[in-house]
């Protein structure tokens, strides 16, 4: 909250076109090799509010009013998390169950989220080839995330494919983390400055499959 306020105060208004809310859910950040450096790389970027949900609600007692207020104050909502059983860690499910209330997020009077952009930034242990009908996970990552896609649609939000990192357990050893984080910063800054082509992005299997196709440079 304070981050957003200070951004409002000090930012040149024309620069930040969209304010980004990054809801990070990782129950053991101290062991994280991908989500933690990703979060650390963007925490100080203007226009981004990073919320560590497990730190803020260690007892899962989510403050519904505070979270709804945050949603109102941002234009892009991102769930950042490792993929747990083809879905989010528990606290993000709890967050959905509590915060996306009837007459706030959905229902005849529930228009608070209309027009906002939503997607997942996830890390998955399996390699990308496993996420297809012939692979051992049988479904693509977009297919597995259908419940979240539909949640976004019911709330009137624009859904984008996930910003996904596969083979995440070996990402440091194989030297892929640096590129992933650089891409992450590019995508967030482009979203913030309205330099990301939403229409093309919606059709991709994942948001980071071809950055040059969706990003317009400054």
């Amino acid at each position: 909250m304070t981050t957003t306020e200070s951004v409002k105060d000090f930012e040149i208004p024309s620069k930040t076109l969209r304010r980004i809310l990054l809801l990070l859910a990782h129950p053991s950040l101290n062991r994280s090799e991908a989500n933690r450096p990703m979060a650390e790389a963007v925490v100080d970027i203007d226009g981004i509010t990073l919320i560590d949900l497990y730190a803020e609600y260690p007892d899962f007692q989510i403050d519904i009013d505070r979270e709804q207020q945050r949603l109102l104050e941002h234009d892009v909502i991102i769930f950042q998390h490792p993929l747990y059983w083809y879905s989010t860690p528990a606290i993000l499910k709890e967050w959905q169950d509590l915060v996306l209330e009837h007459d706030f997020a959905y229902g005849s009077n529930g228009t608070a989220l209309h027009g906002k952009i939503f997607f997942n930034a996830l890390t998955a242990g399996g390699i990308e080839a496993a996420y297809r009908s012939e692979g051992y996970n049988h479904f693509t990552i977009r297919e597995l995330l259908h419940p979240l896609e539909q949640t976004a649609l019911l709330c009137g939000m624009t859904y984008l494919p996930p910003f996904a990192l596969f083979g995440s357990r070996m990402v440091v050893e194989e030297g892929r983390i640096g590129k992933h984080i650089a891409d992450w910063i590019r995508v967030l800054e482009a979203l913030r400055d309205d330099r990301l082509n939403i229409v093309i992005a919606q059709s991709l299997p994942r948001l980071n499959s071809d950055l040059n196709a969706i990003l317009e440079e400054d």
Partner: protein, 642 residues
């Protein structure tokens, strides 16, 4: 009596005026004391020859300082230091003594005189260096540790030197009977004193050795086995001054024992300190001895300043200055060489070099001892005393040089290696009763280092049977908090069983250590408010959580669904906390809650809202406690189906 009061007045007055000014000017306390001494001694002549006697007394400050150093040093750490202690310390003393002896020979002195001078100037000033390192917080740096190793070795090396010097009697002055001491400095008759007291002088060599071993064993075994029951017994009397008296008794007793067997009292008390470093009474002993040590050392420095004879100094100023600079340069070169050889970082190397380049208080002891044994001619001794004093006087200047030039340059270039990363700071837990114990167990189990203080010797004793280490002491005393390391702690948990003292402690810690987080046990709401006002960061009512837990158990027992009970208790807690915040505005420290009308009205009003909330819940309305799991209204999908 009048004379004593007058002297005490003069010395204290000089210290009180000079030291804060010196500190303010960034000169450090040691230089302040030295200057105070120069002013009251040679400059305005308020004190005279009695400074020698006083200096002898004040040297006891060094003994106390070594005791305190020992208390900080666990036996294991001492063992880990052994290479540095013997290697670095031994080489420094040996090579410095050899070089200075050589230089003295070149100046045409007789070999035995030259050797004595070499020995005298191989020593540095434990008093000045340790005091300054402490003051500047450099004790724990590599340079500080190396300095300490060398100083400790030197303090031990004084003993064989005292044995060697009488063998170096100078033929031409033997029997010429120059008994009186030159009035040059605070040289005193330590040697004579020491022989009077000796129990072992008349014994044959083997018996002497046995007695000495016996004395050391007494200190080690006594410290290990006897001190604990003794201190526990004294602690149970709850008389603070008697505990202080017993701490002094311990130090003085050991010093006396060591003197009786011709050993260095400083070494003896140091060993006693090491033995007690693991004791639960360590912090209490530290805080008791600390003020005495500080005052005595201060007095010692004043007497060094007061003892400088400006008559001789000015008569022979060039010689004294040349000799002083020569000795310090030579010592500095040797020290710098060892700093490189023992691979100290540049900053630490300079600290080591500049810090130890002076001659020390033991130089005075050896000089007067040599004089009595007719090893050195009196005129030479007078000059050398001045050299020792002047080099000590210059040491604070070198420390300032170190601060200004070397340390600051290092910070600018960012050349300092990262300190060992500490994941969490230490947590001090004051009070280890039923409350503090739980806090401590949780922290220790999570790998957070704690220092636990308690004023019940029996509690400490009982807990040690469960393997929990805690220290004896009244945690509401600022000196004890200081001894427990509050300067470097990140959190203090105040869990003592005393309302007023808890508030006082919060006030004290908040005022003096604003960087530390203060967590405290509150007894009830009014106590909680008092703690808030005193500056507590987090206060928790001791009864609240336990009572709430039992309330939940009762709701479960009457058959409510456990998850609903959980939600109710969470709602209750939130409601209660909100009430505490809103009532704080109306709280008045000086009015009883029960007679504060506005407060009572608001409290009643807030109580009503809880009832409403809970009643609303029973009516299945869209209420707070179940908000998150309230299903959407029946038929809500109709507009979506269309």
């Amino acid at each position: 009596m009048g004379g004593l009061l007058f002297q005490a007045f003069i010395y204290l007055c000089a210290a009180v005026v000079a030291v804060p000014i010196a500190k303010r000017l960034g000169l450090g306390s040691v230089l302040g004391y030295l200057l105070a001494g120069i002013v009251i001694g040679p400059v305005i002549g308020l004190v005279g020859s009695e400074t020698q006697a006083i200096q002898h007394f004040a040297e006891f400050g060094v003994v106390m300082m070594l005791f305190l150093v020992g208390l900080e040093l666990q036996p294991r750490m001492l063992w880990e230091m052994r290479n540095r202690l013997i290697g670095l310390g031994g080489l420094q003393v040996g090579i410095t003594a050899a070089l200075i002896t050589g230089a003295a020979l070149l100046m045409g002195l007789y070999w035995s005189v030259a050797l004595t001078i070499g020995l005298i100037f191989s020593l540095s000033s434990t008093a000045i260096v340790l005091q300054t390192l402490n003051e500047k917080g450099l004790t724990k740096t590599e340079g500080g540790r190396a300095s300490f190793s060398v100083l400790l070795f030197q303090d031990i090396a004084v003993i064989p030197m005292l044995a060697l010097i009488p063998l170096l009697v100078l033929p031409e002055i033997a029997g010429s009977g120059s008994e009186h001491l030159p009035a040059a400095t605070g040289a005193h008759d330590d040697g004579g004193h020491h022989e009077d007291m000796s129990l072992v002088a008349a014994l044959p060599g083997w018996a002497h050795a046995l007695v000495v071993l016996g004395a050391v064993a007494t200190v080690l075994l006594g410290g290990h086995f006897l001190s604990r029951p003794m201190f526990r017994f004294i602690a149970e009397s709850r008389l603070r001054e008697i505990f202080t008296a017993s701490a002094l008794l311990l130090v003085i007793g050991i010093a006396l024992l060591m003197t009786l067997v011709d050993l260095s009292p400083a070494l003896g008390t140091f060993l006693a300190g090491v033995v007690l470093a693991n004791s639960e009474f360590r912090h209490e002993l530290e805080s008791d001895i600390e003020p005495f040590k500080g005052l005595l050392l201060g007095l010692f420095f004043i007497t060094v300043g007061a003892g400088i004879d400006f008559g001789i100094l000015f008569a022979d100023f060039a010689t004294v200055l040349d000799l002083t600079l020569g000795v310090m340069t030579l010592k500095g070169i040797v020290l710098y060489g060892f700093a490189r050889l023992f691979r100290l970082e540049t900053v630490d190397g300079w600290l080591f070099t500049l810090g130890l380049a002076q001659a020390g208080e033991f130089g005075f002891v050896l000089l007067s001892f040599s004089l009595q044994n007719r090893v050195i001619p009196p005129e030479l001794a007078a000059t050398l005393s001045l050299v020792v004093a002047l080099s000590m006087l210059l040491t604070p200047v070198l420390f300032i040089l170190y601060d200004k030039l070397i340390q600051s340059r290092q910070i600018e270039t960012g050349g300092r290696k990262h300190d060992e990363i500490e994941e969490t700071g230490t947590v001090i837990i004051a009070g280890n009763g039923r409350f503090g114990q739980i806090v401590n167990r949780l922290l220790v189990a999570s790998g957070v280092p704690t220092v636990v203080l308690d004023h019940e010797a029996t509690t400490i004793d009982m807990l040690s049977k469960f393997g929990v280490k805690s220290y004896y002491g009244d945690a509401s005393r600022p000196e004890l908090l200081h001894a427990a390391g509050i300067e470097s702690a990140s959190v203090i948990v105040i869990a003592i069983d005393d309302r007023e003292r808890t508030v006082e402690m919060v006030e004290h810690v908040h005022r003096h250590y604003p960087q530390i987080k203060i967590l405290a046990r509150a007894f009830d709401v009014s106590h909680l408010y008092l703690l808030n006002k005193a500056g507590v960061d987090i206060a928790v009512r001791e009864m609240f959580d336990g009572s709430l837990e039992l309330g939940k158990a009762a709701l479960n027992a009457v058959g409510l669904h456990p998850f609903k009970v959980e939600k109710m208790s969470q709602a209750f807690r939130k409601h209660d906390e909100a009430g505490l915040d809103s009532l704080y505005e109306l709280w008045d420290e000086n009015t009883e809650m029960a007679s504060n009308k506005a407060f009572l009205a608001r409290a009643r009003e807030h109580g009503e809202t809880l009832k409403e909330m809970m009643e609303a819940d029973r009516l299945q309305l869209h209420d707070r406690s179940e908000r998150g799991w309230t299903p959407p209204p029946k038929g809500y999908t109709k507009h979506m189906d269309e």
